[in-house]
Amino acid sequence: MPRFHFRRITDAVHGTFGISELESDIISTRVFQRLHNVKQLGLAHLIYPDLNYSRFAHSLGACHVAGRMMRSINLNSPNNRRWDEDQIQLYRLAALLHDLGHYPSSHAMEHVVQDYYKDQAYLAPTSGHGHTNGKKSPDLQEEGRLPPAAFSHEALGRRIIDLDDEIGAVLEKHDISRDDLKSAFSREAPGSLATLVSSDLDCDRLDYLMRTARHAGLPYGSVDAEYIIGQTCVDSDGYVCLTDKALRAVDHLLVSRYFDYTQVVFHKTVVGLEQVLRNVIAELLQIGLIDCSGQEITRMIKEGQFAYFDDHYLIERLRSAIPRLGLGDEPLKLKIRSVLDRRPPKLVAASERIRGRERREREDHKNLVDQMRGKIREWACDFQVDESLWHLWDISLTMTKIGSHIPVSLAEEGGFEDETDQGVRILTSDSHDPQCKSRLLVEHEFALANQLSNSNLYAIRLYVHLEGNAERSRIEQRIRQDLRSPLRDRPSSPS
């Protein structure tokens, strides 16, 4: 039986595809099954009803795409840069496991947890930042090397591979070491192809965009994935890249990513509910009703409880918190119900614009954010809505970037940051030429990405929990009167 057809998966995006025995064993472990209950897009399903696909489905899709990209590399590259079946298996596995450590509700929880526990563990307490849940912060001198105060999802995935017994048994059965596996998806070994799993054009992004477009019912992520996958190759320096025939398709992919952000991730109600959820998690951490410290998570993995650390865990924590809160906690109760019962806060002020990346533009944006933040207490008092029920959100999004955050200007300056090699690269000669080289897409003047790289999306929104629309109009009017900078219109969100 061919190695990658041990079991067949029928998938909404990719149709029917095969997986290996090793992959079948991995997805049967409890920590991987957990991903069935971690939604890829947090609370977005409350706006787009079918956008409730899981990280389980996405991980399988990414594994399939990684395998196809490896096959294309073998077809498109000279003989000396081809990958054997064992190497293909390793990268498929890295793709399969790339989301293993995601928190419930994905990024909303991860960022709050990171901020809270880093403050607790590493900063001296101040009057406004006490260690209020009654727990002693870890004694670093006594305990030596501790887990991080809080895990990022990448670090957590690695820790699960290190500690989970079932994963360990599967790897042992298939004679794969934990270190080799971590090395493949963390790029620990020089010369690895980790950009296949983590870069601007990786199996993760391709599957995500296709799957989100399919489930949201929006066409923006309908990328020409088939063509892009088929044009994948490796240049003589070992960079994963695309033939020049795929330049337009990949330009389109980067624009699709921008529309995915603006139409799905930054949808006004999605953002409103996610802001409330972050706020609720922060407050529950503060009063000790949730514990996601590095030590606690490590304990959960070791004791086999991590498989239940999923979206249901978080919802149960929210539900069980309400009766435990006191009379003075009414605003927190209201916010918890806002998430559980889908009662989003009202949008009372918004500004959205696409402008250059110059310092003046960024300062304008920051000034408006500061003005709003500085006025919230006054507005809360005047309209008698508790200050904790106002949520300010802002974003300054680079429309084209290299890696997750490197400004394109760095590439133009020539002072390359190492991460710039995560950018999409286009071959400058035939892929079968043993000396073939590639350049970053953004360095090509005829690429749309080159032009977009000089622009940012600046957006600010203010939400408040309100019962009726009458108060909302008065608040909107007052905000417009009070702000020195005029608010700019923003387009309506779809649906």
């Binding site: 590493y122 900063l123 001198q141 030596g144 670090a155 620990e188 020089p190």
Partner: protein, 161 residues
């Protein structure tokens, strides 16, 4: 300013850096200093991969770009905070390691790159000494002759087994 950015700012200052990222050299120094700082046991959660210039963390890069932008636009949220004493004590130990040995003629930035790269190859990539040395000679020919200094410093600090 978010707490993780405040921690990062104070962490690198405690190691003797200003946290500036305006030049490639400064960014590289910051990357290597945080790598070495985390060897103290203060795990900020940044995970490193192997790139051309040695260990590099994309998560750290994301955070220092956000931190630099916040400071550039006037956010001084870090000024009222400080690291707690156990963290400071642990970083004091690493700060000594960052001092270039007298008989090693490298800049502080190159010394940090050498220390971080050698430690990474030996401990994280699990390369044996010969493999690690060959890679260093190929990718970092100006640093490779100073490997014995790095090996000695890391052994004396009990950071290599």
């Amino acid at each position: 300013m978010d707490s993780r950015h405040i921690v990062l700012k104070l962490f690198v200052e405690e190691l003797g850096l200003q946290g500036e990222i305006d030049s490639f050299q400064n960014r590289k120094n910051l990357q290597k200093a945080v790598y070495l700082g985390q060897l103290s046991g203060i795990d900020l959660g940044y995970r490193y991969s192997w790139y051309l210039r040695g260990p590099y963390s994309t998560g750290l890069a994301r955070d220092y770009y956000q931190l630099a932008e916040a400071i550039r636009l006037g956010d001084r949220g870090f000024e009222s905070r400080s690291l707690n004493d156990p963290v400071k004590q642990k970083l004091c130990f690493i700060k000594k390691l960052l001092t270039v040995p007298r008989d090693c003629f490298l800049s502080t930035g190159d010394w940090m790159e050498l220390l971080a790269s050698w430690h990474y190859l030996r401990s994280v990539s699990r390369s044996d000494e010969s493999e690690a040395r060959n890679l260093m000679e190929k990718q970092k020919p100006t640093l490779a002759p100073h490997i014995p200094h790095a090996q000695r410093a890391l052994l004396e600090s009990r950071l290599l087994g």
